[in-house]
């Protein structure tokens, strides 16, 4: 095992977690598992640590904690280090905790996650409960002190023993987990730097938008389009809307044309109308990668009319959005709905959906449309919503 201090120190100095050593998570021979509990977070004194969500394990000899997801991130503490422990009751928004008071660190301890400490206690926070039973078993073990009587085949005090037979060498386990934590810190730092630069872009775009609004300088249409594409790239909401272009950009223009090509046949097969959620799934499944965002899809569909494409985006009163073929005749659709309903006497959305072979959502919208123009009327009972031909219209 490498000597402590020769590996990169990566976490905040001055934490009581220094009592912990990296462990493989495997029990040693003659060491028995007493109880384990999921959903536990570790605190260094009163401070949260990166050991955010894991399983705490109590054995006859040690207290261990293993990360839920990264199983090779496992740390352990000898029970002999525990002076005493106590409960901390749950509060509003706070899980119940067990506070474990520890002895000062020994000098020849093996490498662990923290190098030194300022607290003398740690806390186990039981986010998924289980603290009562854990407390009880911990009490038992600390009073029985079985570790004093039962020796294990892998003594913690002699690091020179070869451990390759039983589990991976501590140095490897340590480096992997250490590296992981180190990488996370670095990633967060880099992310913060990136965000600072992104903020500059946001501020600049606001300045420009304000000037456009105040008409300081004559921005041409081309420049407006360019500006919008910059906003799109950065993911900044467009504060300037002009009737002529809406929120569309060249990208959406191209997309609109692609969509019409792709959707022509499927939409026809469904009777000339398709819900936007379905279009979203269809398109993205077909693309496989470089998927469209929901907003991309909506913005592209909004351009159908301006581009004179044979499809339209339509929004029903209910808020449901569909893509509709331009050739799709509303009157024909309503007439066919009324005919079907008349044949059957009455029909529910589900029944109509089955008859015509479309989704219940669209079936309902069609029946509602026919009702809106007065050709159908409804009977809304608790059992179901039914549509009948409007006899007031047809009979004298």
């Amino acid at each position: 095992a490498a000597a402590p201090g020769s590996e990169p120190v990566l976490v905040a100095p001055g934490t009581v977690m220094d009592r912990f050593v990296w462990a493989s998570g495997l029990l040693e021979i003659n060491e028995t598992l007493v109880i384990q509990q999921r959903g536990v977070r570790l605190y260094d004194g009163d401070d949260k640590t990166k050991f955010d969500l894991g399983t705490v394990l109590l054995s006859t000899h040690r207290l261990l904690w293993r990360d839920h997801k990264k199983h090779d991130c496992c740390i352990a503490l000898p029970l002999s280090q525990i002076i005493f422990f106590e409960e901390q009751a749950a509060g509003i928004g706070k899980s119940a905790k067990i506070v474990v008071h520890l002895q000062p660190v020994t000098l020849n301890k093996e490498p662990g996650p923290y190098q030194s400490s300022k607290y003398s206690y740690i806390k186990l926070s039981f986010k998924e409960h289980g603290q009562i039973e854990f407390y009880r078993r911990l009490s038992e073990e600390l009073s029985q002190k079985r570790w004093e009587r039962i020796s294990v085949s892998q003594p913690m005090q002699s690091p020179s023993r070869s451990q390759d037979e039983c589990f991976p060498s501590p140095a490897n386990v340590w480096s992997d987990a250490v590296l992981k934590l180190y990488m996370e810190e670095k990633a967060f730092e880099d992310l913060s730097q990136l965000m600072k630069k992104a903020k500059e872009m946001v501020d600049l775009s606001k300045l420009i938008a304000n000037k456009i609004k105040d008409k300081q300088g004559d921005i041409s249409e081309d420049e407006t389009i360019r500006f919008k594409s910059y906003l799109l790239s950065m993911g900044i909401a467009n504060p300037v809307t002009r009737e002529t272009h809406g929120s569309g950009t060249h990208y959406h223009l191209q997309l609109a044309k692609q969509l019409v090509e792709m959707l022509q046949v499927p939409v026809e097969e469904q009777g000339g109308m398709m819900a936007l959620t379905e279009v979203y799934c269809l398109t993205n499944r077909a693309r496989g990668m470089e998927l469209l965002s929901p907003e991309d899809l909506v913005n592209a569909c909004k351009m159908f009319e301006a581009l004179n494409l044979p499809m339209r985006l339509r929004i029903f009163d209910s808020g449901v959005m569909v893509v509709q073929l331009q050739s799709h005749s509303e009157d024909e659709m309503i007439a066919s709905a009324v005919e079907t309903v008349s044949e059957k006497g009455f029909v529910s959305s589900e029944e109509y959906a089955k008859l015509v072979g479309i989704s219940v959502l669209l079936a309902k919208e069609r029946l509602l449309l026919a009702e809106k123009v007065g050709h159908l009327c409804r009977d809304d009972s608790v059992e179901s919503l039914r549509f009948y031909p409007n006899l007031f219209l047809t009979q004298d």
Binding site: M183, E184, K186, A187, D190, L191, S192, Q193, L194, M195, K197, A198, K199, E200, M201, V202, L204, S205, I208, K211, Q216, G217, D218, I219, E223, R226, F227, Y230, L232, S233, M234, G235, I236, A237, Y251, L276, T277, Y280, C281, N284, R285, M289, E290, L291, L292, S293, P294, E295, L297, V298, G319, V320, M321, E350, A353, I358, V360, D380, V382, L385
Partner: protein, 258 residues
Amino acid sequence: MHRRGVGAGAIAKKKLAEAKYKERGTVMAEDQLVQMSKQLEMFKTHLEEFASKHKQEIRKSSEFRVQFQDMCATIGVDPLASGKGFWSEMLGVGDFYYELGVQIIEVCLALKHRNGGLITLDELHQRVLKGRGKFAQDVSQDDLIRAIKKLKSLGNGFSIIPMGGGYLVQSVPAELNMDHTVVLQIAEKNGYVTVSEIKSSLKWDAERTNQVLEHLLKEGLAWIDKQAPEEPQYWLPALFSDLYSQDVTPEEADASLL
């Protein structure tokens, strides 16, 4: 009639205006646009560098995604607004969430006839994870919520309703006001609710209670059990936990593709 054109007169006028602004030391929007274009290129480079180091981290770690999203929100940037955005293109965040959106829609559609378009976030989470398979990367509830928020723009009535122990996800345009929501919250405990329960917990009169329950029945969100011992029970399929184990049948899956 005076024709607004690009004749020499118009150009001269523009130059005069520009000069006036420059005198006052005001920077023109066009100049700033040029500046933005340059800065954008630089930013793109920074982002590429970041991506080369940390793209994996984002895909693998839901905690990192949360940090990333929160920071974006703080500075006023929506990394998921467009698949054409830098964030999506270079970090791959877009594909992750947009695909998740597809999976969410499919699960909701497949179960709609059972639960009326209302499902707990827990159940949705479980089913999405199942659908993704063993080797797909992990998806957290936070990820689902963000994906659902994006789906709202598709008009299908996606919304998230906070409940005592979690959230309900609505995927149909049925109108659910505060009265409906509070009844759902009462029903959360047992999966069903009765008229007496509502009257005693909320102190509502019979009319208000029946109106709310009828609406839930009509929208297919509740079923009524008239055979219940003391009084009819209104069951919310969305809140049954034993339905979790029932897989979607092939027939249901087919029906959902309509």
